[in-house]
């Protein structure tokens, strides 16, 4: 079953084409890693799926609901309320965590379920504690983000996104702002989610993660998907010269 369907998406910033006719389909239970050098459009693609950027043309369908379609060469979005409903099907994890600093960890996790999904506070709290257990931070429930390490912040951010019970998790370079030690704790948290067959699309510079955990790896360059394959084939038998050059440059 297709959870996310991206068809011919183009995104221009002024004269610069960040995404050039990108198409991608993500099935339920897949963990798709997107790799590529900076400026290749990986993050922009993720941000278009979550409506943090608006596409110039193309179609995006999330869990059967159309987020954007193109009519007569122009991108058409539904009403704000409809967009919000569609976007709650995607859970976003940011490079810089973006936790709410004035709220404790537990409140960071429960605020959207309570205010957006209108779940009773007590029920949201029970679920948030369960999720803190999943990311291994139960004892930090009442701490504030300023009291956590980078890795802990990112794990809380993952729990916050999971609390909305999304159909697909989007990770935008979740370990790029972390030091090598804390990177591991975040990577193993995400690996745990992969094992639970949580659908995800993850933009990463962490090749070890892409190689070991992803079910499919996509290589992007200059706004286009150049090659995609299973991690084993993509890393061991890259076909496109640009992918070969990229892999050589990072080893």
């Amino acid at each position: 079953m297709s959870i996310l369907n991206i068809e011919h998406v183009t995104k221009k910033f002024g004269g610069f084409t960040a995404l050039n006719d990108v198409s991608l389909n993500v099935e339920k239970g897949e963990a798709v890693a997107i790799i590529g050098s900076s400026g290749s459009g990986k993050s922009t693609l993720l941000r278009c799926v979550n409506n943090l950027e608006r596409v110039t043309t193309g179609k995006i369908t999330v869990d059967g609901k159309v987020l954007v379609d193109t009519v007569d060469g122009k991108a058409v979005y539904p009403k704000e309320a409809e967009i919000r409903t569609i976007c709650t099907k995607t859970g976003m994890v940011f490079q810089h965590f973006n936790l709410f600093p004035h709220l404790s960890c537990i409140d960071n996790i429960t605020s959207a379920p309570i205010n957006v999904l209108k779940i009773p506070a007590e029920q949201a709290r029970v679920e948030a504690m369960r999720l803190l257990g999943v990311v291994g931070l139960t004892e930090k429930a009442d701490s504030y983000p300023a009291q956590l390490s980078g890795g802990q912040k990112q794990r809380v951010a993952i729990a916050r996104a999971l609390a909305m019970n999304p159909q697909i998790m989007l990770f935008d370079e979740p370990t790029s702002a972390l030091d090598p030690e804390t990177t591991n704790e975040v990577v193993s948290t995400i690996q745990k989610l992969v094992e639970q067959k949580i659908t995800m699309l993850i933009v990463t510079h962490d090749m070890r993660f892409a190689r070991n955990s992803a079910t499919r790896v996509i290589f992007m360059d200059e706004g286009s998907i150049i090659e995609q394959n299973t991690p084993d084939k993509l890393f061991n038998h890259p076909e496109n010269p640009r992918l070969q050059a990229f892999l050589n440059s990072i080893h």
Binding site: N50, N51, L52, E80, R84, T85, C87, T88, T90, G91, M92, F94, H96, N98, L99, F100, P101, H102, L103, S104, S111, A112, N115, V116, L117, S143, Y144, P145, A146, Q147, R160, A161, M164
Partner: protein, 222 residues
């Protein structure tokens, strides 16, 4: 130091202080909340709101407070009829409240816009409406940031209240000036200065407490 003279004029200075404090608190009570709609207006996506809010802020920050005071007290009843005639106290509070609301609006606006774009993005990706984002995520964080500039304005307000002497309100400075003119003795001015200093000292303590109170979450330990 003539302590007998000082205690003789103290009651009149204290009753002047009462008026000063009344203008001070009435102004804050109105202008602190009134600044918020103007702040939100000035960053609204709806152009008429923006023009209205920015025009208001421009006028009240762009002309002297004393001129505004004269305009409200003397000018309004002449231009728009006697129904707009106010007591000098009312005119003082109205003018100060409108003037300070403009300054607070700018402080709030700068505070709101200083919040990291990532906060808006996180709120949006979690499905918050823009109003919920403002209320639950942005404004609570803004409070901690605007306390220092707000404190600054509040301390300025204590001293600005002395301007209402010009329309004959018998507040602290006027009480001191009257005593000086009557007795040809500047002691009253020194006493007034000490009272102003005492008031601003208390406000400084209060603002320090507020700063700590509202930035608790930023501390590494609780």
């Amino acid at each position: 130091m003539d302590t007998a003279y000082m205690s003789a004029i103290l009651p009149s200075l204290l009753s002047g202080t009462k008026l000063t404090l009344f203008i001070f608190f009435a102004t804050l009570l109105i202008s602190l909340p009134l600044g918020l709609p103007f702040a939100l207006g000035s960053i609204s996506r709806f152009a008429p709101f923006r023009v209205l809010a920015k025009g208001y802020i421009w006028i009240f920050r762009g002309t002297p407070l004393m001129l505004q005071l004269f305009f409200v007290y003397y000018g309004l009843p002449i231009m728009f009829g006697a129904s707009l005639r106010m007591t000098n106290m009312t005119a003082a509070v109205v003018t100060f409240a409108c003037n300070y609301a403009a300054y607070f609006a700018e402080i709030y606006r700068a505070g709101i816009q200083s919040i990291d774009a990532g906060q808006h993005e996180a709120a949006k990706s979690l499905g918050f409406t823009s109003w919920q984002t403002m209320k639950i995520i942005i404004l609570p964080q803004t409070i901690a940031r605007v306390i220092p500039p707000i404190s600054n304005e509040v301390i300025t307000l204590v001293k600005d209240t002395a301007l209402v002497t010009a329309i004959g309100v018998g507040e602290l400075l006027k009480a001191a000036k009257d005593a000086n003119n009557r007795d040809v003795n500047p002691t009253a001015f020194f006493m007034a200065a000490i009272i102003y200093l005492a008031l601003t000292f208390l406000l400084t303590l209060l603002s320090q407490w507020c700063e700590k109170r509202f930035s608790r979450h930023e501390r590494k330990e609780i």
